[in-house]
């Protein structure tokens, strides 16, 4: 079987609302091991594991951790559970099925970095996950895994759940920080980066839910052991949210290096009604759209970076030949028109014009000039936007212009 379960190994085996059930299943063992070592050793193990962030950008986790550990004074840890990217449901599944693993990962990071306060930021629509995480934090506090003098080791860490009112952009670090501070979710100028100036201008470490869940395991088995799974540039496993016109939709965990085709055909059992695949969108609305012939590509951070985008979120959306490229692009782009925060001009104004142009193609009114306009505008939005939203929202357009160019020409009126 191509699945390898590390972060999802407890799914269905533990009762998410029972801390005892979690403890029975190796729960908080990673934390116990971590606190028996020096904090820097914990980060050393993470460095040896070569784990990269699971939220999409794939930034090496130890660099951020080390930056926070080296900062003095008050500092914060945030678990990014906003998961607004369409087609992704891995973080929700983690929060709903194994919430203590998230708390454990965060406490380990608190111990390693000296942070005393953390937030679990959960997408506003995830009401069930919010309830579960709140109960989980309370249970962990009662058992002494959170709060003051954790495991009698003399370190404190308080955790709080925060949530927005339903905004995609708060998944972006600085928008999330603004939201945690009680402000509208709009990004800030970078640099400084959050590890220098985050919440209340204090150093802040933000990791994705899945990244935190990996930490207890890394501490428990050791970084080198962890790195044996996956590929040279991408170690460990990846949760894959598989959706679209596929027979067995769902969440799967595979080692890095697995091919997209294997995920779709072996785990997803192929396309419904055995229709041909027209395209596959990776990562979500901000990810590339690739044709069927590219499905042998393996899931790997470095491979994905070829698309000018970072698509480590692990969503695979399969679209069969009943749909044309413009259907998909319009859904994506209308989403971004709705979700842009409106702060910077190219993102706020650009997406509106992108939708206008796509509509011209959809309805056969486009000219070759429009094709040039679209290509130019997509690049400008990508190059000049303030935050990750506008910098990645054009990935589907740009990849479609590369792999589905004929589809555009087919719609051009001469």
């Amino acid at each position: 079987m191509i699945q390898e379960k590390i972060v999802s190994k407890r799914f269905g085996k533990v009762n998410p609302l029972s801390i005892d059930s979690y403890i029975k299943y190796d729960g908080y063992k990673g934390l116990e091991k971590a606190v028996s070592n020096h904090p820097t050793q914990v980060i050393d193990e993470i460095e040896k594991s070569r784990i990269r962030g699971r939220g999409g950008a794939g930034f090496p986790a130890h660099i951020k951790a080390r930056a926070l550990a080296n900062a003095s004074g008050p500092k914060f840890i945030v678990c990014n559970g906003d998961e607004g990217e369409p087609g992704n449901f891995k973080d929700r599944m983690l929060m709903e099925n194994d919430p203590h693993a998230i708390v454990e990962g965060m406490v380990i990071m608190a111990y390693a970095t000296g942070a005393k306060k953390g937030y679990v930021y959960i997408r506003g629509e995830y009401q069930n996950a919010i309830k579960i995480m709140k109960a989980t934090i309370q249970a962990a506090e009662e058992k002494g895994f959170l709060g003051e003098n954790i495991l009698n080791k003399g370190f404190d860490f308080k955790l709080e759940v925060r949530s927005g009112a339903g905004s995609y952009v708060v998944g972006e670090e600085f928008s999330m920080i603004e939201s945690i501070e009680g402000k509208p979710g709009r990004s800030r100028v970078k640099p400084p980066f959050p590890t220098d100036k985050g919440i209340h201008d204090r150093p802040t470490l933000i990791n994705n839910v899945e990244t935190f869940v990996n930490f207890p395991y890394i501490v428990l088995v050791g970084g080198e052991e962890f790195a044996k799974v996956g590929t040279a540039s991408s170690t460990g496993t990846k949760l894959i949210s598989l959706s679209g016109n596929v027979k067995n939709k769902g969440l799967y965990e595979v080692p890095f290096g697995t091919s997209i085709r294997d995920v779709i055909f072996q785990l997803g059992k192929g396309v419904r009604n055995n229709k041909p695949i027209k395209m596959v969108q990776l990562g979500g609305a901000s990810g590339p759209i690739i044709p069927e012939y590219m499905l042998d590509m393996s899931i790997d951070f470095d491979r994905f970076e070829n698309f000018d985008s970072k698509t480590g979120t692990g969503a695979i959306i399969v679209i069969d030949d009943r749909y044309d490229i413009f259907d998909v692009l319009l859904i994506n782009m209308k989403f971004f028109v709705h979700q842009s925060c409106g702060k910077c001009a190219p993102c706020r104004e650009g997406h509106i014009q992108i939708v206008n142009l796509l509509n011209k193609f959809k309805t056969h009114r486009a000219t070759e000039k429009d094709l040039m306009s679209l290509e130019n505008l997509a690049k400008v939005i990508q190059q000049t936007s303030l935050c990750g939203l506008g910098q990645t929202s054009m990935t589907s357009i740009i990849s479609s212009l590369r792999y589905f160019r004929d589809d555009y020409f087919a719609k051009v009126r001469y």
């Binding site: 905004s167 952009v169 509208p184 709009r186 100028v189 640099p191 000018d308 028109v337 709705h338 979700q339 842009s340 925060c341 409106g342 702060k343 910077c344 001009a345 190219p346 706020r348 104004e349 650009g350 997406h351 509106i352 014009q353 206008n356 306009s373 130019n376 505008l377 400008v380 990508q382 190059q383 000049t384 936007s385 303030l386 910098q391």
Partner: protein, 572 residues
């Protein structure tokens, strides 16, 4: 020091310099839009993007700090294309009917489009027309022209501590507005107009009253007179292209005569009068145990602020009307009697550096016996500039003319009202000599000059040391108000001006007012003072004559009738 290359030129700048500053210091121009000197870096318009070797994205030069060995290109084809595309995008969601906009030819967006060679737009307009907020007598907000650069928010929230304006909604629905999309008049707006002075386009602008003035000037049954505020003589030149700090006092008089005013007077005269009334009020409060510290009352933005935000401390504010209103009241009583004109046939116009003066003139308290308004129309410096251009006056070369009588003589003390600390200094020159009955050794109170947010000084009055303070911008005013409210204020007399730098930095002054420009205008203001033969208000012979002939004595019955007012809580 950091070494880098910009457009193939070797450049050396201090650490922590932005690319934008580094470029400008080396005479390389990078266009900007949301950026404004003295305000925070917003990095929202993305117009100032540059290309840095090794980076795929185009970072904004306003927010990116230089690094050793950086290779920057500010004009690569990629950069030029991005810049142009962004301006086109902004224009496609902007009411670009330029000839129907008061900012035509004075608009930063228009200038930028022109500079980048945009003569057509690849993008169709996506503007959704929304109603204009003109529900107050001072400022008009036309959201259809707003490009969401955020300067007004920064000014209102961070410089003025008011936060009346902010972004509401997101993406294409985001707009800059008072809370819940209400009108400015529903909010704690002081009408200081600083938002209008930094708006790059015509989205927020003072209500244009020039038509009302033209109408009055062309009405043969009206005697139309005009007063000119102290700060206008050091700024109006900028409206016709003269350098900041040009002193144009008597050119203004000549231009106003040319426009057809029957008489042109100097608000400096009633500034001197204010010093006499306010100085005596201070002396009375100090000697008779009145409410202290006393606070100045000449700034209408500050009065709006106090009435709305600090109703508890209204007793501290001098009951003196502002010089503008004192002039209006005297014009419609003393002058009207002297000239044998019925007050209703007398039309009083003010030229002010200020937008809040428009509100002040319309207050119901500002009418003698509740009948005629003291001042009929207030024009900003910018509006006068517009009238001068409309009439095709060659302002720079115009033959200078002195102000008219009977308010002809003014002093250096009045001239400095326009700069932060000026009212305080003018008052101290008089109060010191009246109370101590001795001549000042040095009449220059330099401690209260300059652009520090809050300035302090100590003077000996009647053998006692008293402390005074001066604040400009409402954020600084707030600090002193909190002390007064808490009863911990160590001061006897406080001057407050709403606008940065005082009236010379007023919300109605020529566009492009920055701290550097303010400094120039302040310098000019003190030069005017130095050049005056009389520099203390109580030595003004016309003021002395006015008391002898008409008012009889400071704080007397007539003074109270004409020159004093009261305040009321407008806490919402």
């Amino acid at each position: 020091m950091v070494n880098l290359k910009i457009n193939n030129i070797d450049v050396q700048v201090e650490e922590n310099t932005t690319i934008l500053e580094a470029a400008r210091r080396n005479h390389i121009d990078i266009p900007t839009l949301c950026n404004y000197p003295d305000l925070s870096i917003k990095s929202e318009c993305r117009v100032c993007v540059v290309e840095i070797d090794g980076q795929k994205k185009l970072p904004t030069s306003c927010s990116t700090i230089v690094r050793e060995g950086m290779v920057v290109n500010t004009n690569s084809p990629k950069v030029l294309n991005a810049r142009k595309t962004i301006i086109e995008l902004i224009l496609a969601n902007h009411d670009a009917n330029c000839t129907a906009c008061p900012k035509n030819l004075n608009c930063e967006l228009q200038a930028l489009a022109n500079k980048l060679g945009i003569d057509k737009n690849r993008f169709p307009t996506v503007l959704e027309v929304q109603p204009v907020d003109d529900h107050n007598p001072v400022l008009v907000r036309n959201i259809n022209r707003c490009i969401k650069c955020g300067r007004c928010i920064d000014m209102c929230k961070n410089v003025q501590s008011m936060g009346v304006l902010d972004v509401m909604g997101r993406s294409k629905d985001s707009k800059i507005t008072p809370a819940y999309g209400k009108y400015l008049s529903d909010e704690f707006c002081t009408y200081c107009g600083q938002c209008s002075s930094v708006c790059p386009v015509g989205a927020i602008i003072e209500k244009d009253d020039t038509d009302r003035v033209w109408e009055a000037l062309n009405n043969p049954s009206l005697h139309v007179i005009v007063q000119v505020a102290p700060a206008v003589r050091v700024s109006l030149g900028e409206e016709v292209g003269m350098a900041p700090g040009s002193i144009v006092t008597e050119k203004v008089v000549a231009a106003l005569k040319y426009l057809g005013f029957d008489a042109v007077f100097d608000t400096d005269f009633t500034a001197d009068l204010t010093i006499i009334e306010e100085g005596n009020e201070l002396i009375e409060r100090v000697t008779n145990g009145g409410t202290l510290p006393m606070m100045t009352s000449c700034c209408p933005g500050w009065i709006n602020f106090a009435e709305q935000k600090y109703p508890e401390i209204l007793d501290h504010i001098s009951t003196c009307k502002s010089p503008q209103q004192m002039f209006g009241a005297l014009a419609k009583s003393y002058y009207a009697e002297k000239m044998n004109i019925k007050p209703e046939d007398l039309f009083v116009v003010s030229i002010m550096p200020c937008t809040a003066k428009k509100y002040e003139a319309q207050r119901k308290e500002m009418r003698i016996d509740n009948i005629n308004p003291d001042v009929d129309v207030v024009l900003t410096t910018r509006e006068l500039g517009k009238m001068i251009r409309q009439m095709g006056i060659n302002f720079e070369d115009i033959q200078e003319i002195p102000f008219d009588k009977p308010f002809g003589i003014t002093t250096g003390a009045a001239a400095i009202f326009g700069a932060t600390g000026g009212v305080m200094e003018a008052a101290l020159r008089t109060v010191y000599e009246v109370v101590n009955k001795e001549e000042l050794q040095d009449i220059n109170f330099t401690q209260v000059r300059g652009t520090d947010g809050i300035k302090e000084a100590e003077v000996v009055l009647g053998g006692q040391k008293v402390k005074v303070a001066v604040a400009h911008t409402l954020a600084n005013a707030k600090i002193l108000c909190e002390q007064v409210k808490a009863g911990t204020s160590p001061y006897t007399f406080i001057e407050i001006m709403t606008c940065p730098g005082g009236c010379i930095g007023g919300g109605g002054q020529p566009y492009g007012t920055t701290n550097a420009v303010r400094e120039k205008r302040i310098e000019a203001t003190y030069n005017v003072d130095e050049d005056m033969p009389i520099r203390k208000s109580h030595e003004n012979p016309d003021i002395i004559a006015l008391y002898d002939e008409y008012l009889l004595k400071p704080l007397g019955k007539k003074s109270h009738h004409l020159l004093h007012t009261h305040y009321s809580s407008r806490n919402k």
